[in-house]
């Protein structure tokens, strides 16, 4: 690369000029690429600093490469239990929220009932409220429900509450384009309601249900604000990061962040690539 550049040194001006011409012609493209770099910069920093070997507690300046943070990912006390609690809550909350959300979506799309409009608004409300207001209201609610101890249960209730909205919206989008004739056909062929639901309705809305589950899981694992308000003394992973950030977050936080990012992005990437290949063949 440098040899080529040296060879062309006399023609440097024209090279610069042609680069300038390219930039001018593709302003939007160049700008977008810069934008993507800006978007990805902090992610690169997170990944890079997961390999940092900080001399003290502060993982702010680069001071050497090491695998140790990855090898001893559960080194800092409390980090492992925080991760497990986060995963456990995310799993249960998204299962419950997806099941409830799918049913609510079915009811909202299929039936006309008395409080349908009110239900629609109620479902939409958590999506349009700042998280801090949600957290504060839930805390006030649980303070008055003295029989529910703060901790796992309150976090679960809170997560199910805001995840349901996302699940309903996701499943509803799929149900609106749903061909009811398919169900009628199944019924005509002698299937009862339950059988029709099992064999026709559920398989058809399954992609949306799966998407809702993944969305709920991602939101629940990542949620800090609401969790922080209702957690009591329980520590989920984001709450752990918050606590650690006040005294200097250990590099293992970046390790976990990187791991979550890699798992999520490879899943999403595989999905997009499969879609692109399918479109190409179609």
């Amino acid at each position: 690369m440098s040899a080529v550049a040296a060879e062309r040194a006399p023609a440097k001006r024209s090279v610069a000029a042609s680069i300038w011409r390219f930039v001018r012609r593709h302003v939007l493209t160049v700008y977008s690429l810069l934008f993507f770099i800006y978007l990805l910069l902090p992610i690169a920093v997170v990944v890079l600093f997961s390999f940092n070997n900080p001399p003290g507690k502060f993982n702010y300046t680069w001071s050497g490469f090491t695998w140790n943070n990855w090898r001893y990912w559960n080194g800092p006390p409390g980090i492992q239990s925080a991760i497990f609690l986060s995963l456990q809550i995310a799993l249960i909350a998204s299962l419950v929220a997806t099941a409830l959300g799918a049913m609510i979506a079915l009811a909202l799309v299929r039936y006309r009932f008395r409080f349908r409009a009110a239900t629609n608004i109620l479902i939409f409300l958590p999506l349009s409220t700042p998280e801090i207001v949600l957290g504060a209201s839930l805390l006030t609610l649980f303070l008055n429900f003295t029989f529910v101890p703060f901790g796992r249960v309150t976090i679960l209730i809170a997560h199910v509450m805001f995840c349901v909205s996302f699940a309903v919206v996701t499943v509803k989008a799929r149900l609106i384009g749903f061909d009811r004739h398919l169900e009628e056909a199944a019924m005509d062929l002698g299937a009862n309601e339950l059988k029709t639901f099992q064999k026709v309705t559920l398989p058809l809305i399954m992609p949306a249900v799966l998407a809702a589950f993944l969305l709920c899981f991602a939101i629940s694992v990542d949620d800090f604000v609401v969790t922080y308000f209702v957690a009591g003394s329980s520590v989920t992973f984001p709450v752990y990061v918050w606590g650690a950030a006040r005294v200097g977050a250990p590099a293992q936080v970046n390790v976990i962040g990187t791991a979550i990012f890699l798992i999520a992005i490879s899943g999403a990437l595989a999905n997009v690539l499969i879609q692109m290949r399918r479109e190409k063949h179609a």
Binding site: T29, Y31, F49, P130, Y228, I260, I265
Partner: protein, 250 residues
């Protein structure tokens, strides 16, 4: 609207005074929240519109992949993302050094613990909320409409102002709301990237609830925040709605 304190328990007494105290004592934080969220929303709109436009009209078959890049930050935990910005903007980081060399920041100056850092953090964290709705509404525009405008002797800028931009307004509205609402209640960026002088109303609510256990004050403040946001949304919808009406009338 409760009064009392943690030792004697709380009684519900219709204490409207909580609201007056909240507004009187924390007006700067309220105003700062609206200000920071507003600036961040405008910057996010200006910065991400060209990119959304580029993906929608020039993305071709790479569209989905490019959208994935836009939402990639969401795959990193919110707090860890913000901590990464703390590292980037740190006093000895290269960003501060570069700005110092360019004399944009005084030699002893810093970025952390300034309003700029907080606004930058908020803008970054909510960018995808702005870019995605913009993309969706731009993607739905029929390119033939723009061609038609150009056939009718509109130059590129006029075609954009008269055709493309008005048609993308639903995305602009959705994006602004999706960015502004969470941004106004945010306290993480102000806590990690700002100093005490940059605290927003979210920080006050958070500390009143979780550190000082002053529940009545905190509750009234979160209610005011929600009311303010609802009022803002209503006014915004009214303004944009009428503007769109006049737009079609022209």
């Amino acid at each position: 609207m409760q009064s009392g304190n943690i030792d004697f328990g709380y009684a519900f007494t219709w204490a409207w005074g909580n609201y007056w105290t909240a507004i009187r004592d924390y007006r700067p934080q309220f105003i700062r929240s609206i200000e920071y969220a507003g600036i961040a929303t405008v910057i996010a709109l200006v910065v991400s519109y060209p990119v959304a436009y580029w993906i929608a009209f020039r993305g071709g078959r790479w569209k989905n992949l490019l959208l994935l890049v836009i939402i990639a930050p969401f795959f990193v935990t919110y707090l860890i993302r913000t901590l990464a910005w703390e590292t980037i903007l740190a006093d000895h980081g290269f960003v501060v050094h570069t700005l110092q060399n360019l004399h944009l920041v005084s030699s002893g100056g810093r970025l952390l613990a300034t309003g700029t850092a907080v606004v930058a953090g908020i803008t970054y964290n909510f960018l995808p909320f702005m870019a995605l709705p913009l993309y969706v509404s731009l993607e739905q525009i029929d390119p033939r409409l723009i061609e038609a405008a150009e056939d009718l002797y509109a130059n590129k800028i006029r075609a954009f102002l008269r055709v493309t931009f008005p048609l993308s307004l639903p995305g602009v509205v959705a994006g602004t709301l999706l960015t502004f609402i969470p941004a106004a209640g945010d306290f993480i960026n102000a806590q990690l990237l700002g100093g005490p002088q940059n605290h927003m109303i979210g920080n006050v609510i958070q500390s009143k609830f979780l550190e000082l256990s002053d529940y009545p004050a905190a509750a009234s403040m979160s209610f005011i925040l929600m009311g303010a946001i609802l009022a803002f949304v209503a006014i915004y919808a009214l303004v944009v709605g009428t503007e769109q009406l006049t737009g079609t009338a022209l």
